[in-house]
Symmetry: C2
Amino acid sequence: MGFSEFNLIERFFVRDNPQRRDVVLGIGDDCALLKVPEGQSLAVSMDTLVEGVHFLHDTAAADVAAKAMAVNLSDLAAIGAEPAWVTLSLSIPKIDLGWLQAFSDSFHEMLNHYVLQVVGGDTTRGPLSITMQAHGFVPSNVALRRSGAKAGDLVCVTGPLGDACLGLKVAQHKLAAPGNLRDYLLGKYYRPKPKVAAGIVLRSRATSAIDVSDGLVADLGHICKASGVGAVITAENIPLSEAAKSVTTEERVLDCALTGGDDYELCFTVAEDDLRNVKAALETVGVPCYPVGRITGKSGVRVTHHGKTLELDRVGFDHFAAA
Amino acid sequence: MGFSEFNLIERFFVRDNPQRRDVVLGIGDDCALLKVPEGQSLAVSMDTLVEGVHFLHDTAAADVAAKAMAVNLSDLAAIGAEPAWVTLSLSIPKIDLGWLQAFSDSFHEMLNHYVLQVVGGDTTRGPLSITMQAHGFVPSNVALRRSGAKAGDLVCVTGPLGDACLGLKVAQHKLAAPGNLRDYLLGKYYRPKPKVAAGIVLRSRATSAIDVSDGLVADLGHICKASGVGAVITAENIPLSEAAKSVTTEERVLDCALTGGDDYELCFTVAEDDLRNVKAALETVGVPCYPVGRITGKSGVRVTHHGKTLELDRVGFDHFAAA
């Protein structure tokens, strides 16, 4: 085909997307030049998705782009940052114009939706993988960190857990689901909605936060470790979708919620006295708030189910565990 | 082995490296939180190196790390930015502790040398590839861009060209070289020195700049396209190393210099009247300045050699050309 890297970037990744006023110099030079607004810190997060590891072979290009973007924006949400810019490195085994068109259409749809500008990146020949870095703004003193949880705080989540994990099982043909439930669960797996507005609302209200990417137990475990505390999850309080409960047993959904990952809801802690205010604030951006546990002084994360302690045979998703 | 991604980052990539005061929150949360100094723009550049595409199979881990870092810092140099932070996404096919130790030792050596802090990243299982983003500071009004070259400006480079391309041929066993010359050429290929100090010195002195990654013709071509001008390269003025000239013919070295790439010297333009001052300024940081051509009003890059126009059968390195 004789495509150069430069042409690929020009053809597929430079478009009439939002031209942000904080971008002094965009794609096309050795670097982008960017202005962080006064009084704000820059929040950055980089994530890589590799075909066959983070997404199934033959996943639709549009879904790959949407998921890569969602995963990165979810990290900004978890710290309470407002998204601004992204960089994208795309490795592709060959130049497939249809695939690139679908990938970049989906990518640009996300850019428009979040008023983001792509400011740099790289396209290389190689096994299919996508590395993105998301950049956002948040004043340091109100940023949500993992390290602020205190014994007695309530642990909350912003939406149903376990759907994405069930969606993966559906995609892998390990779980059957009728038409509309199938679409719902696949959508939750392929197109998670990063809780960006919720993160911003939780600034200086939540005592700690993280996004649920590896399952509630593992992610709450990160909060506990960073905060020097422990937690008890009350499993029967975890919100589960009607779709999830109608395709499999409650135990299986709960296992997904606790250890499955990929949901990209926020898990956060609040002082008990603040719960009512936090709920009301989240309602203003249309996001629910479900208390699912409590922070304790004892280290580690325990799970109880109707008063009984649950034994977990694995803790979250670890893609090196099988290596 | 049961290594989790989290442990890999903790074990190999969080060390007693420079703790910069502009890093509010480093590795270990959902995002890093960073402060860009007042009056400065943030310069960012992202590059990916894939095994078998950008570096040979079985390249030493230390060389892979050094090269990935150099390639990214060279982009900062080309815009005149002062390096500050890096993010790193590392895909590895398996956990090889020796490889990781060597890679991270070399990586941290570079961090220390440039007083850089690693502020985020990802480690994933996948075919070996490295994506880095470099972040630096430069006031927007003095940043070096590709777009400022004017007809009549001189084209200069900061050091000998062609060595890296010959080093690659040595590594591929396509070119023989005796011991010390072999080491020199391999070093130029595997361990290019990004011209960071030179880029800072050239702020508001050069009218345009780029780093020579794809060969002088292609890279000067980018300057010409962005500036709406053309250029003539006087091939006999291109600096060639004694090592290069003693392992092969001058024609072969020139071909490498013009179309070979990987040198990571800076190519920049200056008004003729400023040449003496620019040379003196570059001398203060120990960097030479070689005029190798002139900007013209006519589009395109021509090369003359002792008065005759050279025909080029390929223009720079394009890793998709063979796809």
